[in-house]
Symmetry: C2
């Protein structure tokens, strides 16, 4: 587990077809922890349509952000949200750079496969949606099959049903375990 | 626990200030179970702004629906979403009618207090957000302090962190425990 960090700017990336709860439950928990999270649409506009056909608004678009203003990049899963994120060269090149520079990247559900396909999980402990384990194995990850796995600067998680523990692991990274436990109690998790 | 039902039309009501995860995680789980859920804005338009300032679109507005086309009404919590729902006379009068006619009503977080204030929880087993227990006690409810309580046609739950078990209890009502368990496994809950 990383030590508590003072640099807490978080960017959460949204594509059409993203799993809305993996995105919004994560953002919700981070907001409750008073962590500054920016929801970034990878579309040309702020509007995103989720995997269950809910239309919602991101805070900004990827063309407007400066990646170096952020300390963590978060990738929610969902279909076809995950391949849509993976097809975005600007996003994937920055994810690679973040991982290599030791900066934080977090991915849930199918999204850890983006890291695996980019060669970023080689010899790293990681988890993902059980239906996509093969992608992580092919990427030479050390597959944990856990709900949430923290390996240095990479946090991964399994599915919509693990979005809250995924978000709590991010809170723990930035604010420590006591804050994460207090928040879990507050939301009755 | 109610027996499995064939009449499965569900209306989920959204006010400005609703807790987006309590609303959208519930809808998400119901959609995964192929239960027909309609997200109904109580505003004049379909646009709703959540308690954590996310703008999203409901499927329709309350002025356009026929309550008798629905078999269950769902009330998410959040502040000020809950008092906003409670201030809507059309909604509250239909909630009262549904409960009295033995039709299903489900409420989570602060929203069970709407039922308590309307006198609908007298001698009924129910739960709600721990910060609002007093409202249920004053409404003569039998307070369970459970994550989810099913008492006949009333399903109540505690908070954002219990949205998935809340939704799974609704799936169980309509489709039985086996389907609910299969879905829980599928979303890795």
């Amino acid at each position: 587990m990383n030590s508590v960090s003072d640099n807490r700017n978080i960017a959460l990336f949204l594509a059409d077809g993203c799993e809305e709860v993996e995105a919004l439950a994560t953002a919700d928990v981070l907001k409750r922890a008073h962590l500054p999270v920016t929801m970034v649409s990878i579309n040309e506009t702020r509007t995103v349509v989720s995997s269950h056909n809910v239309t919602f608004e991101a805070d900004t678009t990827i063309s407007k952000i400066n990646f170096d203003a952020y300390d963590m990049l978060i990738l929610p899963g969902g279909m076809p949200g995950t391949p849509n994120l993976e097809a975005n060269d600007m996003l994937v090149s920055n994810v690679k750079r973040f991982v290599k520079e030791g900066r934080m990247v977090a991915a849930i559900c199918a999204a850890p496969t983006i890291l695996a396909h980019a060669g970023l999980l080689k010899d790293r402990r990681a988890t993902c949606n059980p239906g996509r384990y093969e992608d992580l194995i092919r990427g030479d990850a050390i597959l944990t099959r856990e709900k949430v796995t923290v390996d240095g600067n990479i946090i991964t998680s399994q599915a919509m049903g693990t979005a809250i523990p995924f978000a709590l692991a991010i809170v723990e990274h930035f604010l420590g375990s006591e804050e994460a436990e207090k928040l879990a109690e507050n939301i009755v998790y």
